[in-house]
């Protein structure tokens, strides 16, 4: 498979391509991780899933535009870093949260209030429901364009999506404020 086209395929057809890559490299990765890092099967699986997610996010955010080596080599390099990291620091969930996802958006330090607000946003997102939740995730997490989302979610055109995205964001903001007010009322 042409490595350059892999980037395009993932960008155009994210989850399906990621599934293929996941299946194609899984057994080899798990054996390799267990042999070289003496980790359990469950730990190896967890690291593999994290590596796949980072791999996906790097492609969708444009950090990777082409591969100089094979997909497998790149994936194993991420895995190796994660395995070494997990040996150094067992608190893998935190380390994963800290890197990558935050990107340039991470302008504020991780204080307690910030963490609490993130939990409230997550609660608000779960109340938001589809199609808003899916639309916002497609735009902000999967980095899809308005036109792509229109096609994917069967909307008339990019302008419709843009308008809907604004409304969804406003709804999310409102739900978030409701969650925040509820917490403040409980505390006072």
């Amino acid at each position: 498979m042409n490595n350059c086209s892999v980037v395009e395929k993932i960008r155009n057809n994210g989850e399906q391509e990621i599934e293929k890559i996941y299946k194609a490299n899984r057994d080899e990765f798990l054996s390799w991780a267990r042999r070289n890092f003496s980790c359990s099967f469950d730990d190896a699986k967890e690291v593999y899933q994290q590596s796949i997610v980072i791999f996906y996010e790097n492609i969708m955010s444009g950090k990777i535009t082409e591969f100089r080596s094979q997909v497998k080599t790149y994936l194993f390099a991420i895995g190796k870093n994660k395995l070494l990291e997990s040996i150094r620091d067992k608190n893998r969930v935190q380390s994963m949260e800290d890197e990558n996802i935050i990107e340039n958006i991470d302008l504020f330090s991780f204080d307690e209030e910030h963490e609490q607000n993130l939990v409230l946003v997550e609660q608000a997102i779960s109340k938001l429901g589809d199609p808003c939740r899916k639309l916002l995730q497609q735009y902000y997490y999967h980095k899809k364009s308005m036109a792509d989302i229109a096609e994917l979610m069967d909307y008339k055109n990019a302008d419709t999506v843009k308008n809907l995205k604004y409304k969804c964001l406003q709804r999310l903001k409102k739900l978030f404020n409701q969650e925040l007010n509820a917490i403040n009322r409980e505390e006072s």
């Binding site: 899933q49 996010e57 996802i101 993130l118 995730q137 902000y140 997490y141 999967h142 604004y166």
Partner: protein, 255 residues
Amino acid sequence: MRPEEEDIQLIENYLSGTLDENDQRMIESRLTEDAEFSKRMDAYNILIKGIRISGRKDLIQHLQQLENDLESNETKATKTRKLFPRGLYYLAASVALIAVMIFYIFGGPGHDVQQLAEAYYEPYPATVYITKRSPEEKTAELTNAEEAFHLYQAGDYDKSIQLFEGLSVEDQDEYTRFYLASAYQAIGEFDKAIVLYEGLIEMHGIFKSQSQWYMALCYLFKNDIDASRNVLKRLSTSTDSYGPKALKLLNDIQN
């Protein structure tokens, strides 16, 4: 565009670092002077971050579901294998060989390489380790490695894999790695077997030819004819008994 919508766009561009220098400076000065704008920036920053985290969690959940499906399929495959004791494998291999021969005799169109692999494949006999033991040693309690070999010999590949995998680094050697690979191959875990065979080939040890032969069969089972052919070509120059076998299989593949 609504004023707040414009602000959202500006904030998004600022946060993603896609603003030019002038706009960047303008935003920074507005952030210090306009408390309302600064508050809005904080709010959207946290919302966007929350959306991304929820997106990531959904992706991880999706992968976990995929993982569960794969594991469930593996379990089913293992159970199917267990239904066929080793004797039946030989029987199946013989039947497959006859089928291949009939195919050749009647000049059928393009044979199935997997069927060819079945015809050539026989689990490697677990004789090497056992014959190493002296009669006195045979009375001693079995070590995990020995137990694993016995289970392999009895055709209980799953249990033998568990024991081989659980061996400490000191207890692992060429023998245990080779039989672990063979056990994986016997239950149809070809990718796992291939990784182990590759390591053994690189070692240039006593199982090099065997590893090449069985790895070539793994590739055939996986329908990867090119990879199988490459391995067989290298093996065909070998002076041991595997050289002629490799040459014969190569010919069969090419026909």
